[in-house]
């Protein structure tokens, strides 16, 4: 390594003596890296965005009473081998609530892995305001626990959470729903439950999750309000949402809770399986394209260095005659490819950042489906580090073979002329 300054000086002179080729080789790496940065920024930006969207509507763990299907008759269980016929069998009118829900909440609250627990009651309703009648749902919640779960406070477009707490007939309505009903904060809307119960509720605020599927149908109310319109007692709870300190534990804990409480428990990954598959596909696509680009750039460097070495046969022979060893010669050419790789990668990072910045400014109107004005782009430093490591590795590998060949050049054949 003591010869490195000398080797670097020779490598630099070689590169500068054919600036055009050097730049072409560098551009290969630059484009590879910048496209990688741009693509990975957009893809992970999209992934993060969809994941965040999913998190606004899906808790880490959701516990609910699943509808029982295929109920056996008593006759079937008492006479399992017989041929039993039961006429006009109807589904049993089972309550959709979780029994001892508040006890479950207390148990979960004591779990150290849990950040928050929010019981809720959900029901389908019709919203009536003047001539407009819309189908939707009301979610009865402990609004402060729900805020801890889904950051509701940030998503309010009007009113406050406390406004809801201070009334017992308040509603915080999704912006899409409010717009369709043409109601403002302070207006009263009539809601009707499937059971036929009707009640007037006052809109005290509006929220926007950024997802049409929620904003267009859902309202939040106090849990007691919903229990009242459902004509149920104050222990009536249909769902329990759990937020964990570490969301990756959700699957494992969901299994435990299901066994413990006997109700269906779903982790967010299971609830969002399609989304996660989508993320994986996007990642595969990004890395495949990037590796392809960098391989092409690598071949470019391989070619250019190979050509350079053919042109420099005489120089290699002279260097060897002067007392440079095969290793020294290999290092000279490897240094060249590493310089190309380093400068090309750095330029690629800058260009990639500009590309990603450009993409993040592209206007993108997703309509009412999601709340998006431009494409989401991730500017995480991690991908820039991966990019430069990738770039350096490919160029070092692409440069190594020609460089080793240069080291093996037999000087005698060339010097004898």
């Amino acid at each position: 390594m003591k010869d490195f300054p000398l080797i670097f000086q020779i490598a630099r002179t070689h590169l500068l003596s054919r600036v055009k080729q050097t730049i072409v080789a560098m551009l290969g790496v630059t484009f590879g890296i910048s496209l990688f940065i741009g693509m990975v920024g957009l893809m992970t930006g999209l992934n993060d965005f969809t994941e965040e969207l999913a998190m606004t509507s899906t808790p880490h763990i959701h516990i609910y009473n699943d509808v029982a299907v295929d109920r056996k008759t008593i006759l079937d269980s008492s006479n399992p081998d017989g041929f039993n016929v039961v006429h006009h069998q109807k589904p049993k009118d089972e309550k959709q609530n979780l029994k001892d829900a508040f006890q479950i909440v207390r148990v979960i609250q004591q779990d150290k892995r849990v950040l928050g627990v929010a019981p809720s009651v959900a029901t389908q309703v019709f919203y009536n305001y003047g001539p407009v009648q819309l189908n939707g749902s009301v979610l009865g919640v402990d609004i402060l626990a729900e805020d801890q779960m889904f950051d509701l406070r940030d998503k309010l477009r009007s009113g406050t959470l406390e406004d809801l707490l201070n009334t017992n007939d308040g509603l915080i309505m999704g912006v899409g729903l409010a717009r369709k009903l043409n109601v403002q904060t302070g207006d009263r809307v009539t809601i009707t439950t499937p059971q036929g119960y009707t009640m007037k509720l006052r809109v005290v605020g509006t929220f926007q999750m950024g997802m049409g599927a929620i904003d267009d149908v859902r309202s939040y109310a106090n849990i007691t309000t919903v229990q009242k319109i459902m004509q149920k007692d104050n222990q009536y709870v249909t769902d329990i949402n759990v937020k964990l300190k570490d969301q990756s534990e959700s699957e494992a804990l969901a299994v435990i809770y299901q066994r413990l409480f006997g109700y269906r428990s779903v982790g967010w990954e299971e609830a969002n399986a399609t989304l996660i598959i989508g993320n994986i596909f996007r990642n595969i696509l990004t890395y495949t394209v990037s590796i392809t680009l960098l391989t092409v750039a690598g071949f470019g460097i391989y070619n250019i260095l190979n050509m350079a070495i053919y042109n420099k046969m005489k120089d290699i022979a002279i260097l060897k005659a002067m007392g440079f060893s095969a290793q020294d010669v290999t290092q000279i050419f490897l240094t060249q490819s590493i310089i190309i790789g380093l400068l090309g990668s750095l330029a690629g990072l800058v260009l990639g950042y500009l590309l990603a910045y450009g993409i993040s400014k592209v206007p993108f109107d997703a309509g009412d489906v999601v709340n998006l004005t431009s494409l989401p782009v991730n500017f995480s430093i991690t991908y820039y580090i991966i990019g430069i490591v990738f770039g350096m590795l490919t160029t070092a590998m692409a440069g190594y073979l020609p460089a080793r060949k240069a080291g093996k050049v037999d000087p005698i054949e060339i010097l004898r002329g």
């Binding site: 290793q327 020294d328 005698i412 010097l415």
Partner: protein, 225 residues
């Protein structure tokens, strides 16, 4: 005078296109500070012999001893180091590094040796260029010089590390008579004043006649030394 180079029973074969013995039992020794010419007809093996002595070709039988050091069987890396320290080369085609300046061409082998600081190396380079009368060309790119000038720069480069032996493969073969004379005189002077040994392959019998020792090869055998 002690011998600076000894060749013992050297046999060398070429395998392409068919196996062929180029050198047969070549044995001789060279004294320190002498000016030696290796002569012989084309195909007699004189260049091949010189490249064996140069340590760049290691595919032979027999042994070569330079300055009491057995070179046969050494590793390539050690031989490279040995060349750098002890052997200077001058070739028929001038073989400078074209994208480096004359000065850089001279400095490279000395920087590789690492015995002197860059300032000292530069000073030595200028001294050698002055001796050879090409100091005014120092900052030019090597490929901008005339043939005669390039060959003088090549000699200066060969002398940079104060080598024990300077080897030339037809160093005057590509030069006009005036430049040939300059190159020959320089070699003569070096061997006299610096006690450096010169081994020169040539087919010019007139030049060879003026050297201290002639090794003549014929069909791979030494017929005079």
């Amino acid at each position: 005078m002690p011998s600076v180079l000894e060749a013992n029973q050297i046999n060398k074969y070429f395998y392409e296109p068919t196996k062929f013995q180029v050198l047969k039992n070549v044995t001789f020794s060279i004294e320190r500070g002498s000016f030696v010419a290796i002569i012989g007809k084309s195909g007699s093996g004189k260049s091949t012999l010189m490249y064996l002595l140069s340590t760049m070709d290691t595919d032979y039988e027999g042994e070569i001893i330079v300055n009491k050091e057995q070179l046969t069987g050494k590793k390539q890396k050690d031989l490279a180091r040995f060349r750098n320290e002890n052997i200077g080369f001058v070739f028929q085609f001038h073989f400078l590094l074209p994208e480096f300046s004359v000065l850089q061409n001279l400095m490279l082998p000395a920087q590789k040796l690492g015995r002197w600081s860059d300032e000292e190396i530069e000073q030595r380079a200028y001294d050698h260029l002055k001796t050879l009368g090409v100091a005014d060309q120092a900052s030019k790119l090597a490929n901008k010089l005339s043939g005669g000038q390039q060959q003088r720069v090549a000699i200066a480069r060969a002398l940079m590390n104060d080598p024990l032996i300077v080897m030339g493969d037809e160093p005057t073969g590509n030069l006009d008579s005036v430049n040939s004379e300059i190159v020959f005189d320089t070699f003569h002077q070096i061997s006299r004043e610096q006690q450096q040994t010169i081994i020169m392959v040539t087919h010019d019998e007139d030049l060879a006649a003026r050297t201290d020792q002639i090794i003549e090869l014929k069909d791979g055998e030494v017929i005079r030394h």
